[in-house]
Symmetry: C2
Amino acid sequence: MTKGNISTTEIARICGVSQGTVDRALNDRKGISPKTKEMILRVAREYGYRPNIHASTIAGGKSHLIGVVIFDLNNPYFSDMLMSIEAYCTSLGYSTVVMFTDKDHEKEIECIQSLYYMAVDGIILCPANSGSAYEKYLLSLNVPIVTLGNRLSGIPYVGIDNASASRDAVAHVLKKGYKKLIYVKPALKQRNAFAQAQRLDAFIAVCENEKAAYVVTDLQNAEKELDADTPCAIICPTDIYAIQLLSIAKKHSAGIIGFDNIRLIEELGLTLDSIAHNVPLTAKAAVDHIISGTPIDCSVPHQIIVRGSV
Amino acid sequence: MTKGNISTTEIARICGVSQGTVDRALNDRKGISPKTKEMILRVAREYGYRPNIHASTIAGGKSHLIGVVIFDLNNPYFSDMLMSIEAYCTSLGYSTVVMFTDKDHEKEIECIQSLYYMAVDGIILCPANSGSAYEKYLLSLNVPIVTLGNRLSGIPYVGIDNASASRDAVAHVLKKGYKKLIYVKPALKQRNAFAQAQRLDAFIAVCENEKAAYVVTDLQNAEKELDADTPCAIICPTDIYAIQLLSIAKKHSAGIIGFDNIRLIEELGLTLDSIAHNVPLTAKAAVDHIISGTPIDCSVPHQIIVRGSV
DNA sequence: TTGAAAGCGCTAACAA
DNA sequence: TTGTTAGCGCTTTCAA
């Protein structure tokens, strides 16, 4: 519980060396003898030295700030993601600046803008926006950006392979003998709906391919699609919908599967199959790419969590 | 979508004045003629000037950073709170740095420490920690701190009046004719459980006072307490529990009421009465106190949302 | 009313 | 290996 607040200049004075030497010791720069380095580090530790990120930033160094720009926290999936990002950033000595866009395109740009002026070391963005003008703008900023969930062409992306996940969901359902698949499409207000589009497109493609009966509907009309004479299964590209339809599915003995495997399923003790992302891994990949430039292989593995609703 | 990045020195050069004068114009300081001020502001706007928070911070000004230290986002109540805080901070030109403690005392101190070194303009803290040593430490930092949910003596606090809310819940239930009240106490791991303690204490006090039969139990044993011959009502000091017990309550035709009125209730279309906080108001009070020193009158109004579960 | 200058704590380039 | 110096963009004080 120390209050520290000692500067490199102070340490230099105490150690009887120049401030430049202290900087060399503290930042692992070359051109310093092991002995002086050790002494300086000892004193720094003793006095509880902490680098001043503001001074470092203005002098052209790193800000140790990571910006996270997401829609909101209405979907617990993003709550988990934010927690994972924060935890991993903290472990690396970075702080997390969070901003919510509410899927508003103007707000999204304002967020990016603010973070840019704050000189964050990188931005993790779940974009509602899209288009080549936007992409060009983001690229022009020269700030490492990783997109999450929705893709933007030319910009690094982390997330599950939604198409493959969708195919897996269909296969899972078909294997259990369901004959008609009901896809519950969410109402989206944002322009960039990459993840959702991928899920739906793959769903349709695989159904066509497997010659399976299917229909795409919305939350309100899902129940109507449940035929008494055909074994039906509901596929929800977001768990929130699946949870709402769970009892209806049960009532009609229809199968049901969701996406994202949100924490709530376990918390409420629900029997709902879901496609799980590896959230901590996604967060790590995004942060690593920003901080160390680690190349991104874009698709984080997914996994069907079977609880018996299919 | 401008990239701006012009400094006061640049503006000074463009306007043919000194940097000091630009500073006077931009920061509403006195000692500048309306005419030059107007010209400078025009140029600043034209070039998309944005103050550099890092330079401002290191020169002893404000960082325009607000730290938010909370347990986690497992309870949607905190997700909402974080969103409200961020929205209000943004509207005032402040950015939000979020840190999660997982109710770990060491981590909590580490978070505070980090924010202190970042020179945030204030900290909004939901403490798991407590004790006078801790309070003294926080005070010694000389950073405006507002606590949320759990109280710390000597430190400004915003939140609902939990005792009064608890009394209202009991009154609501009693008025409907329930004879036995079952209080489902959460298992807490943190040291500071101010809010929960207040709720429970008030519950017991009012039951004693009203001579109402009551019992305090935990989630696992709540069902056992439901008597067939007495009209029972379950009081859950957190909605997450109430949602889990909702069907059980229905089955036994017991009443049930939760706390916090989390978004999920509406999302899942549940019939669950709950004590609602005014989250945006709480967020505003906390942020206003930090930024403008607005005195805090500590108790934000609460309200029973009646949906028919009592 | 305006200008000039020092200094915040760093980074980085150059000199010794 | 080490010291010195300039400079990042601000705030603040003192002089003009």
